[in-house]
Symmetry: C2
């Protein structure tokens, strides 16, 4: 609706009206909206966005749109956009741009900013340093609340958050003062008496996933980042932490479905890349499944003499796979939320063993009744009952142990999920099935 | 370490030292810590927490600990705790308590609070109303910044957030003023000129999952909740929205692994409940898999004459299941993040069809080479190549279409995930396999 109206106004060159329409939207909706237009219209629309929001809209755009826009900017425009942007957003953009564009951007920033950007670019890709911003409000402990509020009024407009201020002495972080406590306190109160000294802070090299977990645990708006000498170097704000949290979640879910994770969304990913992200695991799993097939073919004679045996294979394989999926998923989630550690291995395995006995028994009984009704063959019911219980037991154990072992050797536990577990469990369930059949049916 | 030290101090009855230790921790860590102690020590420790943090620690505890504590509280203590608690936390606790405890709590709250609590309890379980709090700062548009700041100083201490204030006239929400704009503005500025009137708000009945998505999209700290007459009734704060977001994520992941979702964590859930959460889907899937088995047994004669055919069944079933898992997971995630809608059905299906051709071809070639090397049988390689391509094609289509259909009929798309898709795909892949075998091998 908005798109249609804007396209009409663009065709009629009614720029004043467009300007008014755009001025009523927030920067995130604007970035979403502009994405719907072809490049040439998008460039025109972007220039009609008010100066104050343009940088924010730009920061919220996908990389390819940013690149298109940069190619149309004059040096002055480029300078304006990047002057209005927060440092962490600038660094995010630079990390995704080709070298010549990076150079173009760095050329228009002033010397001091450039050196700070270069410093930020040096932090390892998944570290707290790589997602932090260096723009925050610093206070002195000898200030009064009134002096602090005056300082905020002077420098606050350029800071990403003013709701948490940092009390610094000789570059060291002494304490934290929230805007709430400043606003609720008497004007003559000393910052020293107001500041919270039990600080939750992170090191520049901490994994950004761990940082995002702290935000979730303590409901933080910002967290201070210190270097190895405990000097304050920046802050991570909650919007960036939320993004990290979502990305990690998506990465885990992809891995659990045997898809190589990617930052691009479904439609953004080309057919070729979709195929690329899926083929590797499919090949590995297909070739592993041939092992199950080879084992199965070694029972050829048994199958030839009791062909009915084959008809239970899908049910056994699926049930084993499903049980393994259930326990591995629960354990992978437990590891991700820090509830389960490697040292809990035996506790988890014992719990899963108990669960598997209950579950296996229920499945064996239901399936036994079905077989008695359909085939009136108690021996067959017994064979499948024993196989089911053993398969479930083994599937749940493998499902809970493998993710913990992966964690121990510093692999992502999420790769030990449904598809891989299923393949492993398949092999064992076939072996159990024909092993038990040999004994029970005397084949 | 802390636990050991505290246990020692408890045994030596050195309460002053314990008090000091506890005073240095924040409420969330305290709640975590107390969880590690047996009930009797936990109750003693809780009484040693300072009055100011006790309510917050209490709000962060699991329900069973809260219940244990309430049973030891005097009426006066109960009153103090619940007076210091925010309304939304109180309601959260009441929703989980047995009726007699609810009565006990309501008895100690004053009449006005009680009627507000009762109102909040009436909102549907998954609605914005059920997670909102009624404690927020309201301003008038005719106020100056100084008057606004004075009002915040007076009422702010009891509000869950003061960083977003709401301009109200005749109960209607006119605009929003952030603490940032108040702190950065001149004292004589009128609120009317400062307030943001393009407001993102939600209705009391909006699904809380949708509310939490707005927080993620717009990086909000709080969102106003209005009733059907557009009157302001409360706010949802970002900590509650984050919790909803996490819960929904966990629910989706559970469903995708065919586990009935539960709010309890892995270790909190008893063996019996673990089994209960898993058995239903396992039974359904096991019985569905018997269909595949029945179809398989109808090819008994073919299997008896070419027993080698059986050995490829695990590979076909696994590959089909994996492809279905991949596409269904990507589509379920796309639906959850609002990227994919039902109207995209054909667009998604077309994309998946293309991906499946690439992937299927690659798998068929690799598998064909393997078969030629192992069995020197081009006909067998051809049979499996065709079957693989058809299976992959069908698996990816089923995998992407079913979640979208579920969405259309208002089921959770996550139930159309790996386990169910695998079972469905299995049946078809067996049919394709033997169908093609009949034609190619002339059986």
């Amino acid at each position: 609706m908005e798109i249609k109206r804007l396209t009409e106004l663009l065709n009629e060159k009614k720029y004043a009206q467009i300007k008014e329409m755009l001025s009523e939207m927030n920067s995130i909706d604007l970035a979403d909206l502009l994405e719907q237009f072809p490049d040439d219209s998008m460039v025109v629309l972007f220039r009609l966005i008010s100066k104050e929001t343009a940088a924010e809209v730009f920061a919220n755009m996908p990389n390819d749109m940013q690149q298109t826009l940069i190619s149309t900017f004059t040096e002055k425009e480029l300078k304006e956009i990047f002057e209005d942007m927060y440092m962490d957003d600038t660094v995010d953009i630079l990390e995704e741009m080709p070298a010549n564009v990076v150079e173009q951007i760095l050329n228009v920033t002033d010397k001091e900013t450039r050196s700070r950007i270069n410093e930020l670019l040096r932090y390892p890709q998944d570290s707290a340093g790589s997602i932090m911003t260096v723009e925050y409000v610093d206070l002195k402990k000898t200030m009064t609340v009134r002096q602090a509020l005056d300082k905020i009024k002077k420098v606050g407009i350029d800071q990403e958050t003013i709701y948490t201020c940092y009390v610094i002495e000789n570059k060291k972080l002494l304490g934290i003062v929230t805007a709430k406590s400043l606003m609720l306190s008497d004007e003559d109160t000393l910052i020293e008496t107001l500041m919270e000294t039990h600080i939750i802070s992170v090191n520049t090299h901490m994994d950004k996933e761990e940082v995002s977990k702290l935000f979730h645990k303590y409901h933080l708006i910002a967290i201070p980042v210190v270097d190895t000498e405990n000097c304050m170097v920046g802050i991570v704000t909650f919007d960036d932490a939320m993004e990290v949290y979502e990305d990690e979640m998506n990465e885990d879910i992809s891995l659990m479905a045997a898809v190589q994770p990617s930052d691009d969304s479904y439609f953004e990913t080309s057919v070729f890349n979709h195929a690329k992200h899926r083929i590797l695991w499919l090949l590995v799993l297909m070739l592993s499944a041939t092992i199950t097939g080879t084992i199965l073919s070694s029972y050829e004679k048994m199958i030839a003499s009791v062909p009915l045996l084959v008809s239970f294979i899908p049910m056994l394989m699926d049930t084993g796979g499903n049980c393994g999926t259930q326990s591995s998923t629960l354990v992978i989630r437990g590891i991700a939320t820090d509830e389960i550690q490697f040292r809990d291995l035996f506790r988890v395995a014992f719990k899963e063993a108990q669960v598997s006995l209950l579950v296996g028994l229920a499945l064996a009984v239901v399936n036994g009744i079905r077989i008695l009704l359909m085939y009136q063959d108690p021996m067959l019911a017994l064979l499948l009952g024993i196989t089911l219980m053993a398969t479930v037991f083994m599937a749940e154990l493998i499902g809970c142990v493998l993710p913990l072992l992966a964690k121990k050797v510093h692999l992502d536990p999420a790769i030990m999920a449904a598809p891989l577990i299923t393949t492993i469990v398949d092999t064992f369930s076939i072996m159990i099935y024909f092993g038990v059949a040999t004994m029970l049916l005397g084949l």
